[in-house]
Amino acid sequence: MSAVSGAVETAPITSLHALRSADPGDFAVPTGREEEWRFTPLRRLRGLHSDAPLGQAGVRVDIDAAPEIDYAERIIAPADPPGFLPEDRVSARAYAAAGTAHVLTVPKEAVASRPTIIRVTGVSDEATAGHLVIDVRPFGKAVVVLDQRGSATYADNVEIGVGDGGELTLVSVAEWDDDAVQVSHHQATLGRDAKLKHFQITLGGSLVRVSPSVRYSGTGGDAELYGICFADGGQHLEHRLFVDHDTPNCRSRVVYKGALDGDDAHTVWIGDVLIRPDAVGTDTYEYNRNLVLTDGARADSVPNLEILTGEVVGAGHASANGRLDDEHLFYLMARGIGFEEARRLVIRGFFGELIGKIGVPEVADRVTEKIEAELA
């Protein structure tokens, strides 16, 4: 089967993201026919979406926090700001089962002197729930790396709050073992003039489904959501973005790039951007591009922009799936560079633009190394 497919979202975004609840019972068990689930192979979810019991022992979490950042474990308290409200059954089940949350707080006006590393290591196949909170208080500034490895069956929620004038760079790396299954929700709320740079780098795992979403609680919020994924044979890597513009004069950029290499490699990218009636002066752009390197791989890419106000600064989307460009390869090879190396250079270049945006050399270098390893 060939590679390129452009599906069309059939329901307006407003209705797709309408239901949010902490009670798993509010969400029916998905059948696979729902718009939100139609791309996901449910049989491979090991019951995360239905009723598999969720424990807490399947992953180990180690935190190496910058000295300016406070770390605590606490019982999940739904009323606390920044506030998390699940938007599907897996997320609600994880929320109910996680028990305690790992909480990182960047105090008001504190500037972290180095990246904070959160290591999540899968240690058994027990289906496990997790909850992580990153709370950047006003004018705080930090870089956080979420480093996920090992073998796990994991449903987790990441609650992100960036207070007024705060800045957070979160680099989430999913480098799971081949048999891992993860369903993850990242929910961010940005205060006035807050900035979030969110990277999701998905390389390893049998099935990884990550849903990052952004909401704004004050004007001038700026969210940049970047993604890199590299799917090998048999991997299903799915990213579902949602940016809810409900506040005036906020900005969002979504750029996701994927490469697929191998039989039945499958990636899914859903980019939902909703500009509600109040969100005048919104500036948004989303872009997804996939390099399909082999026959038998499939990339689904569905940008979806719903605009409910007449006054936007900019709103656009683009999506393209394609093969490696023969002209690029020819140019490099005409200089003596062998096919394999030319291919590596072009792919590295394809992702390089995004890696450059990480802006933290030590993190960028690690991501580069990981992609090199995928290409080897």
């Binding site: 023969d326 002209e327 690029h328 020819f330 140019y331 490099l332 090879m333 005409a334 200089r335 003596g336 560079i337 062998g338 096919f339 190396e341 030319a342 250079l345 072009v346 590295r348 270049g349 394809f350 992702f351 390089g352 633009e353």
Partner: protein
């Protein structure tokens, strides 16, 4: 001694709909080291096709004839093997490759062609020297390959690669087009440095006599409708510029009609 021999070369281009269209109709040309050949011909006559067919671009299919470099069959080589064997093509429209830096690209290419990686310090020095020779801002080394380069910058960058990769035979496809007079001189100096050293031959494709005033050719070939129809010395270039190609295109048309 190096010799590129093109014998009775026929080649076709694969069009967008997948059909083949014959463009080259029996090209014969020998370029030996120490020689500079100019090919001049009207738009669409197949000059770039000749350059691409020799370099091995996948869009062009050789249907008949042979190309050898020092007796080795070039047509059976992969594109990269042709470059390593000593062929270089400066392209009429150099390709932009996003995210691949000039310095990384050059180092990779130099390593491939020389068969071993130069020491980083030695390489950097060599690259800076080559950039300086062609009046290219050293900042270009960290930019993406050809991305956002002006037409003239792209052409200078092609000559830079030629000088660093040091092929036996260089095919320069309209390297002079899009250059202002200053850039033209810089590029011509690069070509002259290259051909002044022993063991190098140049095949220069151009529309204008202008560059030939700086880079004196030994032979000028007139290329019309997929083949060479006339050969001469440098004076032929002047005649072509003054009189145009009508005489040759008319003759080619008459021949095709007969």
């Amino acid at each position: 001694m190096s010799t590129l021999e093109i014998r009775d070369l026929h080649a076709a281009v694969t069009e967008a709909d997948g059909t083949l269209r014959e463009i080259l109709r029996g090209v014969n040309l020998t370029v030996a080291d120490g020689e500079t050949h100019a090919i001049m011909g009207p738009n669409g006559s197949g000059k770039s096709t000749l350059a691409y067919a020799v370099a091995g671009h996948p869009k062009y299919t050789v249907t008949q004839g042979s190309v050898t470099l020092d007796g080795e069959d070039v047509l059976s080589m992969t594109v990269d093997a042709r470059a390593r064997a000593g062929l270089f093509l400066a392209m009429q429209y150099p390709v932009e490759v996003p995210g691949v830096s000039v310095s990384n690209f050059l180092r990779t290419a130099v390593t491939a062609v020389r068969g071993e990686a130069p020491k980083l310090r030695v390489f950097m020095k060599e690259m800076r020297g080559a950039l300086g020779d062609l009046s290219i801002d050293p900042k270009f080394a960290e930019r993406s390959l050809n991305e956002g380069f002006s037409g003239g910058e792209k052409k200078r960058h092609e000559i830079l690669q030629m000088e660093m990769l040091d092929p036996k035979i260089a095919v320069l496809d309209e390297t002079d087009s899009g250059l202002d007079v200053d850039a033209l001189k810089v590029v011509a100096e690069g070509i002259n440095r290259f051909r002044a050293r022993p063991g190098h031959g140049v095949l220069l494709i151009t529309h204008y006599n202008r560059i030939l005033q700086y880079v004196q050719p030994d032979y000028v070939h007139v290329f019309v409708a997929g083949r060479i129809v006339e050969e001469g010395g440098p004076e032929l270039a002047k005649t072509l510029e003054d009189e145009g190609y009508e005489k040759f295109t008319a003759a080619a048309g008459a021949k095709a009609a007969s």
